[in-house]
């Protein structure tokens, strides 16, 4: 299977490409249709976040093998303004961009592991992992 690959997130079209690539790898490692849909939806939210809040970023897509079950890990990173209050940003309904405020809190519910590192002026990195059942 392929090694890690990095995709840019600079345009709306890139968000679509990220979704397609995540879908294709999720199917390849044997995630169920529901699990595929969840990780692709989370990828769509996080890619849009990078685009809207940071003016763009990138995602590193990694297939995790060698463990008991295969998994898919996505690392979204940007050099945007960062998030001053991470706890608040993860609160459902909290929004700075006029959205529904479901992007971060919702994505966290759709994946098995979720890690967010951010500080003002230092950009944001969100790592999500989905394991095959």
């Amino acid at each position: 299977m392929s090694g890690p690959q990095e995709l840019p997130i600079v345009t709306n079209g890139d968000v679509v490409l990220v979704r397609q690539q995540v879908r294709s790898l999720a199917a390849e490692i044997g995630l169920s249709l529901v699990e595929q849909t969840k990780i692709v939806t989370a990828a769509s939210e996080l890619a849009r976040n990078a685009l809207v809040h940071a003016g763009g970023g990138r995602v590193l897509i990694q297939v995790l093998e060698g463990g008991r079950r295969p998994g898919l890990r996505l690392v979204f990173s940007d050099e945007g303004p960062g998030i001053p209050d991470v706890d608040q940003a993860l609160t459902e309904g909290w929004s700075t961009a006029g959205g529904l405020g479901l992007g971060l809190s919702g994505s966290r519910r759709l994946v098995d592991e979720f890690d967010l590192v951010s500080a003002p002026g230092e950009g944001t990195r969100v790592t999500v992992t989905k394991w095959a059942r």
Binding site: N12, G13, V15, V16, R19, Q20, R23, L33, V34, Q36, T37, K38, V40, T41, S44, E45, R48, E92, G99, L100, L102, G103, S105, G106, S107, R109, L110
Partner: protein, 121 residues
């Protein structure tokens, strides 16, 4: 950006989303639909998402917006053909699509519109 075609059948507008929606296409569809509801005098809108593999918060919000917008323009919107995996994911994401009527397929969607209009008329 790709545009989603809007078909007219009697006084119903039918939108079948067959492309991988980017955010610009979503916004364009909202505007095109509002214009066409007014210009055609349609009383109902059916949005078929049979081919849509994911509905994220942006697309979900579009569906709610279209439903609210067409209602103001005197037309009801029904979303049809949602995949089971999409429904499961939407609920877990926290989106309940409040205010959006749904039906399992196109046929049931048309029947629902007729029922709504019958009750109103």
């Amino acid at each position: 950006m790709e545009r989603v075609p809007i078909l007219k059948l009697g006084d119903i507008l039918i939108v079948s989303i067959q492309i991988d929606l980017d955010d610009q296409s979503v916004l364009a569809l909202q505007e095109d639909l509002a214009d066409m509801v007014v210009s055609s005098g349609a009383r109902g809108v059916i949005i078929d998402i049979t081919a849509v593999e994911i509905v994220d918060s942006f697309i979900g919000r579009m569906l709610s917006t279209i439903a609210a917008m067409t209602r103001m323009l005197d037309a009801e919107t029904v979303v049809v053909g949602m995949r089971p995996a999409v429904a499961i994911t939407l609920v877990e994401l926290g989106l309940s699509l409040g205010g959006v009527r749904t039906a399992l397929n196109l046929e049931k969607g048309v029947a629902m519109l007729e029922h709504v209009r019958g009750a109103a008329g």
